[in-house]
Amino acid sequence: MTNMHSIIRNLPTGVAGLDAVLGGGLCEYSFNLVAGAPGSGKTTLVQQMMFANATPDRRALYFTVLGEPTVKMMRYQQQFSFFDAAKVPAVMRFVNLSKEAASGQLGAVLDRIVGEVTKTEPAFVAVDSFRTIGGGIPTGDDDESRILVAEFVQRLAQQLTSWEVTSFLLGEYAEHERRHPVFTVADSILWLSEDVERNSAVRKLRVMKVRGRAPMPGLHTFRITGDGMQVFPRIPEQHRERVARTGRRLQTGVPGLDEVMGGGIPEGDVVMLTGPAGSGKTTFATQFVAQGLSQMETCVVAVFEEFPEAYLARAKTVPIDFSEMIAADRLAVIYLRPLDLSVDEMLAEIFASVRRIGATRVVIDSLSGFEIALAPTFRIDFRESLYRLVGALTATGVTVLMTAEVIEGFPEGRFTTERVSFVTDDILVQRYVEIAGHLRKVLAVVKMRGSEHATDFRSYELTSSGAVMGESLGAYHGITSGIPTLAPLVEDG
């Protein structure tokens, strides 16, 4: 006997990133609750999904209840690019239920909804805001109104399911109201919230429940722009297929540095380059990019501390024209300076560029800028954020070079309030030392996983054509103190 079972079709949400979070998209004919505080983006989210899916053959009914006047809602929502006025009202029809809702008669509300659904036979229905129906939320288990509302929700769900409708109920619910009957009946619950910390506000989405699907757990940040909502899913490293290491060494582009690093950077490694302000971190990173481009590789550079124009102007020291490389889709420079960034948003930006141009080298310049760009709520979890960022990037096989500014002295090697070296394969440290009254720049390889490397300090110069490694300072003592002294020669015999 064949095991016959119903197949639930996935509907695309039309919201970037949300399908992945939902475990593949919206379940067709599902009864969905979109909950959150006023201003959290519920209306925008649902209208974006409905405009994306509604067609002349699969019409949408959008019921507005007590709350924001429909005209005002339309006035604001049509500012979004997804709002297709050509679909109104033939494909996307707005119906006002305020009269029925104000009567307090749930039966009248249900009759009107069912009447309109029967008349239109829509594929999608939204009720905005569901919270206002029935005069609010009953409070106690034995409250008579609670039973009435439960019965209303049950009948509504049955009606909409029978008409093969994918429905969305929008409501201003608080966490403590999760005993409301609609939470029980809903097939999926999307909770929108906003984390406010100091001057920062970060929007977050959580899928609290999806029947028949395995949604992505946790809180996912989202932004609302002129194109509507975009969700940035958390990307656990274990969900990604890792690309095997090749054992190949990448040339750094800094004369003399490959030799110090035992032949170059192992492909697929994560390299951390730390140093004080002005030590040449960006110069090294720029040469790393230029070297890759000269060998027909493609590169992505994420800049946090300067505008792309400034970055490109500074990159004129290398013999390759970065602007031409950008035009040829061999280089992408991502500007990620906005505040209140989430690590997932940054990942999404970098991944999009890596995929678009097939990048093999990624530069993050700098981690210090990245940390500042993050919303405070993510700075607290910077180690975790960085771990996910690096894990997700290296799983794709790209080689990552990150710069970080050192505030404290060399022995600690600290560049943030947290120690983050555990995420790296290789660490290069730059610093200043005073030798014979001159400030000299030196570099040392602190760590290279599974690879031989030079252990002595090497001087380097920043010239008009870039960084060049110099002599070994093996003859000096006390380099880590910043004021080294020439070691006395030990004579034989």
Partner: protein
């Protein structure tokens, strides 16, 4: 006959507006549009009727018998123009035109077969 046609036209438009704006929203819009036109078209003072369900324009046909088709037609035209003007400034001309369209909302199921 023409009076009846004008009546149907206005009633359908009011139904459309009432459907998406609700009784209060539609009444507010009608009140404002009539206020802008009634000085030059005093027939609106007779046509407009208000009850617990808001503003109604169901006296158009009767008004034609009293004031003549020319006066009532001009009044209806002025009202439509005023309604469109107000609505267009709120939600844009494209959407205002679509929402004021004088056809009744779809009631047939011809183009709307639910997906299986």
């Amino acid at each position: 006959m023409l009076g009846a046609a004008l009546q149907v036209t206005c009633s359908r438009m009011c139904d459309n507006l009432r459907e998406f704006m609700g009784v209060d929203g539609c009444s507010a819009l009608l009140d404002r549009a009539i206020k802008r036109t009634e000085d030059r078209h005093p027939v609106w003072r007779e046509i407009r009727r208000r009850d617990r369900d808001g503003v109604h324009l169901d006296g158009i046909a009767a008004s034609v018998e009293l004031h003549g088709i020319a006066a009532v037609s001009a009044a209806v035209s002025a009202l439509l123009a005023a309604l469109f003007d107000v609505l267009a400034r709120l939600i844009g001309e494209d959407l205002a035109l679509r929402l004021m369209e004088l056809e009744a909302p779809p009631t047939d199921t011809g183009g709307g077969e639910p997906a299986s």
